[in-house]
Symmetry: C2
Subunit: 304 residues, 2 copies
């Protein structure tokens, strides 16, 4: 079981080199992360964008040019997204890292019926954090603060499956999944609590496999067994959750940003469910969190 990003890095080094493609590789954080991953021997990189701007940017941020990277020229973000997708379809690239274009422009390409990377699975964002609650002895996956606005029951089932696949690759054999709500009892007036109980039932019935699902749980119950016990809950998940499923995009987004900005946790995140891992870090994420996302993509998302 991998416990932190340092261990994910060591694991990533054991994989065959992946090829990372960066549409509009003209911003500091994505360029720096790509260059760093290359220097660590983890990837080859294909940089798509305006050659002059990319060269200038690479010189400014790393003091070097682009000699080590394949360069594809375009000034058009949607064209860059399309090229990145086509490269992945042709198996010439394995991971997409968003550069200086809008998330919506990239996802429009990824979801395109002709040249995109859609599978039969739901796309969902899994954020992996180094876990302060366990005193940094484990990794915890949180989903989904980035893609699915108000997932329905079946979409939540797929969010769980996507997050479970990530935690399996990180070495957690049977991840414990806490389906979060604002309460720990089913309240028909709070649909997130009803869905959570239903997902637990689906797990017990074998419709969600490879994990133990419990819910509804409030965050305190999920994090600490004594909190669950004070509320009269018996739960295998309480106090030892490996995955926290948030009921809507706002709760996932605010929760993770709260951990980043109040607690300074280390995190990386990856979109799961497409043919290849897609990394859509925010422009305010630093190069370290983008590198973490690349490491996650190598270890959890590719079959090499």
């Amino acid at each position: 079981m991998l416990r932190n990003f340092k261990e994910i890095l060591e694991k990533a080094k054991s994989f065959k080199k992946a090829t990372l493609v960066v549409p509009i590789a003209e911003d500091e954080a994505s360029l720096t992360a790509a260059i760093e991953a290359y220097k660590l021997g983890l990837i080859n990189a294909i940089l798509i964008g305006n050659k002059n701007r990319m060269t200038e940017a690479a010189k400014e941020f790393s003091g070097e040019g682009l000699a080590n990277y394949e360069v594809i020229e375009t000034d058009n973000p949607e064209e860059a997204a399309k090229k990145a997708c086509v490269l992945c379809r042709e198996k010439k690239a394995d991971i997409i890292l968003k550069g200086n274009l809008q998330t919506s422009q990239l996802l429009k390409g990824v979801l395109n019926a002709d040249f995109g990377l859609r599978t039969n699975n739901l796309l969902s964002d899994v954020c992996v954090i180094e876990d302060p609650i366990s005193n940094y002895k484990k990794l915890v996956g949180i989903s989904d603060g980035g893609i699915n606005i108000l997932p329905n029951l079946d979409q939540k089932r797929q969010m769980i499956e996507n997050a479970v696949s990530v935690m399996h690759k990180l070495g957690v054999a049977i991840p414990k999944v806490a389906v979060l709500s604002a309460i720990e009892k089913v309240n028909p007036g709070m649909p997130s609590s009803v869905d959570a109980a239903e997902l637990k039932k689906m797990n017990l019935e074998g419709k969600i496999k490879g994990c133990i699902v419990d819910g509804p749980l409030a965050l305190d119950n999920a994090l600490h067994k004594w909190c669950a016990e004070m509320k009269g809950l018996k739960s295998e998940v309480a106090g030892d959750a490996d995955i926290l499923i948030c009921p809507n995009i706002e709760s996932g987004n605010i929760f993770v940003k709260g951990l980043v900005y109040y607690k300074n946790i280390k995190q990386g995140h990856v979109i799961v469910g497409a043919k290849v891992p897609v990394l859509i870090n925010s422009r305010v994420d630093d190069a370290e969190s983008k590198l973490h996302s690349i490491l996650l993509a190598i270890v959890t998302g590719t079959e090499r």
Copy 2:
């Protein structure tokens, strides 16, 4: 402007003594908080519940009996909630602190048309935290992780007004209000972002007064001006928000619990909008956070 709970305590000492009523005062945290507030000279207390159990509990937790408190006997939680409400209607009590009964049992009393404490205002929960982002130089109000499940636009307007009234009493003349979403641009597919923009407009039109409202803001934009600027936002609120309005109960609940359990912040919270402040702390809250809630209720909720 009060900056932390120590300063709220000093301010509370300047108020005329309030009377706190505790329905089913049989649990450690609520009894301990009431006794401590009494010893600080802030309140007189009316304890409602089973006299034997209350006496035993008080001896166990404080080493003393109930000689200093008015005691009203009942074994029935709904009866206890009713009695607490009636005492407040008759102006014999000023603040209700939930003891060992369900929040729903207490709120059923508070919302009762005959003997309850409803006004024309929405009831909403305002959590006040000592703010790590400002290096603990200010207090921030967060609403609503406890009462309103999926507030509509008008309910969010009232949540803002309730939170603004609290921050006014804490000495913030013109609170800056960040209406949170998962993004900082209006996206018709994400209703929380649409509402946030509408609330900003209502503030500009003078329909929400005494504050500066901005939204939609993602949490990073609300907390740090550089994050807002990287996203191309110009905002008076970004980087200096006094109030964070969450779009639904799950995001408010998970956010605040995240701050409590990952960051160990000091907080108290109060339900605003009823005839008196109502304190519905969770059973897992400790006596300190309940005492903080009493302090908040004294300073922000009573007119003495």
